[in-house]
């Protein structure tokens, strides 16, 4: 469980001030030191893990070009470490492992560096720039998963800009309001209990409860993303957005282009593309990418099924779009009339993902007990 306390919000605000008030050559090093101090205070375990993983990747990057075994080995090692924490492994002399703050997102960033370094897609930069990228506080705890090329471009042209600071402050205010006003005063005490109290135990009731859970998750996660994007803007960086009105999506692939976009894009580039390129099977790539997203949420049979459910939805959506493209207009009045139908169908499909996969999970467990 990740806890973002008010102290974290104020610490990040102080880091924004540091990033402008110090002499220019000290600004980004000060941000990196502030990030380390933040982790030392809030999540020492995260700092300990990163103190091993970051130097390892920095050592490998100059040697990794076209050395597939090194890149795949290190990426596999980082993914295995994250999986170990997710699975709650027990080490001798220690209790069960818990995922340290920000480790998921740091693992994604490190794998991005390794894969793009192997492919020669990384812009040339020094260790200081890489540390500034990896130890950039706003998106560190819960994303978005920003990329090195965009970060370096902003780093090179970074100048104080009042308009950007204003945009950032507005974004921070909106994120904060989502979390403390909308969520704490309306969603948690009113909406979620109201939706989960109807027709309990039936599929319809579970669908309504899922609507409450998805709304809560959206407001909470998009509020935190607003804080990260806002703080980054206030520091002079435009980082990847995470949400773009996902519940207005007109199809299931469209939903995944709007929901937690930085993770979806990461999975497209580093899971879907390699699997599809090696196997020449597009739908296998979609299935593996969605299973990775599912298992990232929780390593369990239910989330494996959840990933496969969404993969089936995306595959069916692509198949239908290809089959009916000659008959369906891309623009015009009919397309505008059909868009709400697509939005409603997508919404129902997404909401049904929780009750459907929970029931499948329960059925598979019963079946396994009978067979055993």
């Amino acid at each position: 469980m990740i806890v973002l306390a008010q102290a974290a919000v104020f610490w990040t605000a102080a880091t924004v001030l540091l990033s402008w008030l110090l002499p220019r050559r000290l600004q980004m090093p000060a941000v990196a030191v502030s990030t380390c101090a933040f982790l030392a205070g809030m999540a020492p375990a995260a700092l300990a893990v990163l103190a091993v993983e970051i130097p390892l990747v920095l050592w490998a990057l100059p040697r990794i070009r076209r050395r597939g075994i090194l890149a795949a080995g290190l990426a596999g090692l980082l993914a295995a470490a994250l999986a170990g924490f997710k699975l709650g492994l027990r080490l001798p002399g220690m209790g069960a492992l818990v995922v340290p703050l920000g480790l998921s997102f740091m693992t994604f960033r490190l794998i991005h560096l390794l894969v793009d370094g192997y492919a020669g897609r990384l812009p040339s930069c020094g260790t200081g720039d890489l540390l500034s990228y990896l130890l950039f506080l706003p998106p560190l705890p819960v994303g978005p998963i920003h990329r090195l090329p965009e970060f370096l471009a902003d780093l090179r042209r970074r100048r104080f800009d009042g308009d950007m600071l204003g945009l950032g402050l507005e974004r921070i205010l909106h994120g904060y309001a989502k979390l403390v006003i909308l969520r704490n005063l309306f969603i948690l005490p009113v909406l979620v209990p109201a939706l989960s109290g109807w027709a309990r135990g039936t599929f319809r009731g579970d669908l309504l409860a899922a609507a409450g859970a998805w709304t809560d998750l959206y407001v909470c996660f998009s509020g935190i993303s607003d804080l990260a994007v806002g703080y980054a803007l206030a520091m002079g960086f435009r980082i990847q957005e995470n949400f773009r009105f996902p519940f207005l999506a007109v199809s299931i692939p469209d939903f995944w282009r709007r929901w937690h976009m930085s993770l979806t894009l990461w999975c497209r580039d580093y899971v879907y593309a390699p699997v599809a390129a090696v196997t020449r099977r597009r739908f296998l790539g979609i299935a593996v990418a969605m299973v990775v997203i599912g298992l990232w949420h929780e390593v369990s049979l239910r989330y494996l099924l959840w990933g496969l459910y969404h993969a089936a939805g995306i595959a069916a959506s692509h198949w239908l779009a290809e089959r009916f493209r000659p008959w369906l207009p891309a623009q015009g009045r009919l397309a505008r009339l059909l868009a709400p139908v697509g939005t409603l169908a997508t919404l129902l499909f997404v909401l049904a993902s929780i009750p459907v996969t929970s029931r499948l999970d329960a059925a598979l467990r019963v079946l396994a007990r009978h067979l055993a």
């Binding site: 469980m1 806890v3 306390a5 008010q6 819960v142 507005e170 205010l173 309001a177 403390v180 509020g223």
Partner: protein
């Protein structure tokens, strides 16, 4: 919000409305702090 208001209203009216909106949000946040001064956000990822 300010950019949105500027697109649809004359600049002075957009400025005033945006300021009122920000004041409302800040007041709401302060009210929530008063009710719950402890940590406020959790996200299980």
């Amino acid at each position: 919000m300010h950019a949105f208001l500027c697109r649809h209203l004359p600049r002075p009216a957009a400025n005033v409305l945006a300021l009122l909106w920000y004041a409302l949000l800040v007041a709401g946040i302060l009210l929530c702090w008063q009710r719950n001064p402890a940590g406020f956000v959790y996200l299980g990822l």
